[in-house]
């Protein structure tokens, strides 16, 4: 394909290790299979390759990226390459010293996760006391003049506190609040029945968010990502497979999407064997769902195919067992009933939650 676009953004998942045990962890199942982590020199080489390939933004994430001892060094490398660097953290191990080292190294922006505005609920959802540490991390980041995005993942257990969550973001003086509903992949799929909200919850929260977005427009930017299970059409996952985005997992596997690891039909290349350029342009995994030729009906002849690119491949696999079908979230999908069924089940569910650990 001669017209393959170059990637804009790299998600650098430095480690799957994390002090939190979130119910909706986006990392893949069976983490124990991926314990090996690539070393500093390899990450530095890969950041260079990413820059040459056209990557503009690098997003350091995990797991908890602060658990990598070479994080400051990697941020320095990104800065030298003139990459814009973001860091996504739980804030758990964010000391004043570490944050100021990162600032010094040239880190551009910080995202701190918050599980709920209610401290007890936050700590329950993370299965570890963490609320106070997040308060402190945001305060320290503010002192260092970082641009801060507060990330709150939404679901049944915190959606009714949406107003308090927004008020808290205003009080903490963050620049941006990202309110994204759980994506039901990774560990979140495991807890789906316990996490899916009710439709009336989703609707009333959306009204509150719309109102607050207007009301606080002079001081807080709010990004609201609606839950795709309740939408008519699927999300434009990644803006298309292998189109603008790539992920490197802690062990060096290169993935079109961080959730793609769960698709057993795919074998992923690694940075230990090939250059990023070879992988992006030539590897079968990146070709597999790139463009429009792979699409089945109803996507193939659908006018929305350039809007949503057939939706999420990981979701198609998780719901139907086949990653190459239309995302069942789409009302035009022959498998759409699977989504309706999941919503109906969740509405009656008193399912027990299972917390994430590094061993599951």
């Amino acid at each position: 394909m001669t017209t393959t676009p170059r990637p804009m953004a790299l998600l650098a998942e430095l480690t799957y290790r994390c002090p939190l045990h979130c119910l909706y962890c986006s990392n893949p199942l069976q983490l124990a299979r991926y314990r090996r982590e690539i070393d500093t020199a390899t990450w530095q080489r890969v950041l260079g390759e990413a820059s040459q390939l056209g990557v503009v933004q690098v997003h350091f994430s995990g797991g908890e990226p602060l658990m990598r001892r070479d994080l400051v060094e990697l941020v320095q490398t990104a800065r030298k390459l003139d990459l814009y660097s973001n860091l996504s953290t739980s804030g758990m191990t964010a000391t004043a010293e570490l944050l100021s080292q990162l600032r010094e190294a040239g880190l551009d922006a910080l995202q701190v996760s918050l599980l709920d505005s209610d401290g007890a609920s936050n700590d329950w959802l993370a299965d570890v006391p963490s609320f106070d540490k997040k308060v402190e991390a945001v305060r320290l980041a503010r002192e260092l003049d970082f641009p801060i995005t507060l990330n709150v993942v939404l679901h049944r257990h915190n959606l009714d506190r949406i107003e308090e969550i927004i008020d808290l973001a205003v009080a903490w003086q963050v620049d941006k609040l990202e309110l994204a509903h759980v994506q039901y992949t990774g560990w979140a799929f495991r807890n789906r029945a316990a996490l899916l909200p009710r439709r009336d919850q989703v609707e009333s929260a959306a009204k509150i968010v719309a109102h607050a977005t207007e009301r606080f427009s002079d001081r807080l930017q709010i990004l609201h990502v609606l839950p795709d299970y309740f939408q008519e059409y699927p999300k434009a996952c990644l803006n298309g497979w292998g189109r603008t985005f790539l992920t490197i997992a802690p062990d060096g596997a290169v993935l079109p999407c961080q959730a793609a690891r769960e698709i057993p039909q795919l074998t992923f290349p690694t940075v230990l064997e090939k250059s990023l350029e070879q992988i992006w342009f030539e590897d079968p995994v990146f070709q597999r769902f790139r463009g429009f030729d792979w699409m089945p009906e109803p996507c193939q002849s659908c006018e929305r195919r350039e809007v949503d690119f057939g939706g999420c491949r990981c979701q198609a696999f998780l719901l139907t067992g086949d990653p190459a079908v239309t995302d069942p979230v789409c009302r035009l999908s022959p498998n759409h009933e699977l989504v309706e069924l999941a919503l109906a089940e969740a509405a009656q569910s008193t399912a027990n939650v299972v917390f994430r650990t590094f061993n599951n």
Partner: protein, 100 residues
């Protein structure tokens, strides 16, 4: 204040916003957390001057960069620069210099 209608006196790039020349795409870019805006030549020239200096000074410097337009005497030029900065301000990419 992002939606402030007051004319910009000393515009500067907001926190976390930075200009970058993209070698791979031969492109001027304005980067911010999780986003990017592609700039044309004049946009890039304006943005590079947004360091807290006075708007008048920015216009003067631009005249030197683009002398063919005989700009400072042309009211449309002033409007264009201010409109461009106003749009960036609305998106939260440019703000007033607090220390001005």
């Amino acid at each position: 204040m992002k939606n402030n209608a007051k004319p910009l006196q000393r515009p500067r790039l907001a926190r976390g916003v930075r200009y970058r020349w993209d070698e791979v795409r031969s492109q001027h870019q304005l980067l911010y957390p999780e986003g990017l805006l592609v700039l044309n030549e004049s946009g890039a020239a304006i943005v590079k001057l947004c360091d807290g200096r006075a708007l008048e000074e920015i216009k003067q410097s631009l005249t030197m960069s683009f002398p063919q337009a005989e700009l400072t005497e042309d009211p449309k030029f002033t409007e264009d620069v201010e409109e461009f900065l106003g749009r960036l301000m609305q998106r939260g990419l440019v703000c007033h210099d607090d220390n001005a």
